[in-house]
Symmetry: C2
Subunit: 248 residues, 2 copies
């Protein structure tokens, strides 16, 4: 099973995901994420690896499953969105083809949903989710995607905006937003969304505090319908609110 | 509180959402969605309206909250994605400004996550979520967005692909996908995702069964990395799977 454990607090797990974790005999995941669910898992074997050990982690999970055990591979957020589900499917189709194992994918609350709920309601209409990490997607492709979506007036959710190593792309994106959507474009930032140390920032793109942003910050760039109302980020969906709504 | 109740079965609720529904004194929602959570709510007052009664529903919810009651407005999927959270914020900032009420937004599993988990792992990299409903977004704007994102090689999740009244836009989108991405582009369709009557279809864009598609079908259009492997839809993220991953 590939299990999305949500943003990081046990109460943001679905009931299905919680049950999956409770029934698994082996839990496999990135060290930090496994720590987040330590209240739920008890007595199971736990296999953790560090940040870049995705492939090794998935291989060990598949080998445990091939040995007849029920295995849950966890990803924070949704395991199907930049998570482990895809890598598991690749391996099951590739080097482990002969093992005839099945994979159940159990969705979770993705960071876009969580950050949006913290900010208000910025995803009321069409949106795009982009990762600025160039670890597995060439930087040119990320830039080409940004160029394509900016004029389309889509709200943009940006994952992995910058890391200690990678600091030049995000300031470029900020410049691009200012050029394409104007200096007053509303942007929301959420760090550690859903966790006890959650922080948020809401303001105009020209005022973004670059020092606030790290690998775990989710950036939501508003579109032409996005405003700040009462300290919340709101993309208007287009309801007619004048008069009664008898004819809706 | 605005509460996302997920795709429709109680086990896809988060623990937080479940608790919110249990503690609410009044539950407000579209009739069908309230029926989906009838096992959880018991004894609370329930206010339901039909399909197009969104504004009326939110006004009644706010009036109940202004009378001092704890109110949960429910949306299927994520209440913050094409859901009721935005409309509630608009009303609280507009005609109910003087009531000084607070809104808590509780996220849920959105249809994109759910459909993706049913299909395999199509959202492993950047993607866009678009609604083809022209009820509140002009058709020209939807078309302009599709034109912008197609060449950007983003996986596209389409909500509300067609309804009984609106049947011409989706076939146009199919033509556009064939022209931009080629006839072999992989597409997944999921109807009633997460519900007992769930159905899915997976194949090439040229073979899409148009009669399968209704208002509740989620369409996932693959990109250049998307394949069908073992009956699952997989967008490859770009892992290097040859040799060991010592250097990752």
């Amino acid at each position: 099973m590939a299990v999305g454990i949500g943003p990081g607090t046990p109460e943001l797990l679905t009931i299905q995901a919680r049950r999956a974790l409770e029934t698994a005999e082996v839990i496999v995941g990135y060290r930090l994420y496994v720590r987040q669910i330590s209240d739920i898992i008890a007595g199971q074997e736990v296999i953790t690896t560090g940040m870049r050990g995705e492939v090794e982690r998935c291989r060990r999970a598949i080998e445990a499953a091939a040995a007849g055990r029920t295995v849950a591979v966890v990803s924070s957020g949704d395991v199907g969105i930049y998570g482990m589900a895809g890598l598991l499917l690749e391996l099951l189709e590739g080097e482990y083809r002969d093992n005839d194992l099945d994979l159940e994918v159990i969705p979770g609350i993705t960071a876009a949903s969580m950050a949006a709920s913290v900010l208000g309601a910025p995803l009321m209409n069409d949106f795009v989710v982009l990762s600025l990490s160039d670890l597995m997607t060439p930087r040119e492709k990320i830039q080409q995607r940004l160029q394509a979506v900016m004029p389309a007036d889509l709200v943009c959710v940006l994952y992995n905006p910058q890391s200690r190593r990678r600091t030049s792309l995000f300031p470029e994106v900020v410049k691009q937003v200012i050029a394409e959507r104007g200096p007053d474009t509303v942007v929301g930032l959420v760090k550690n969304a859903g966790r006890p140390d959650q922080e948020k920032w809401l303001g105009k793109v020209v005022d973004i505090p670059l020092s606030f942003i790290d690998m775990l910050t989710v950036v939501v760039v508003g579109n032409s319908t996005t405003d700040i109302v009462n300290g919340r980020m709101l993309s208007r969906r287009g309801y007619q609110l004048t008069g009664n709504d008898e004819n809706r």
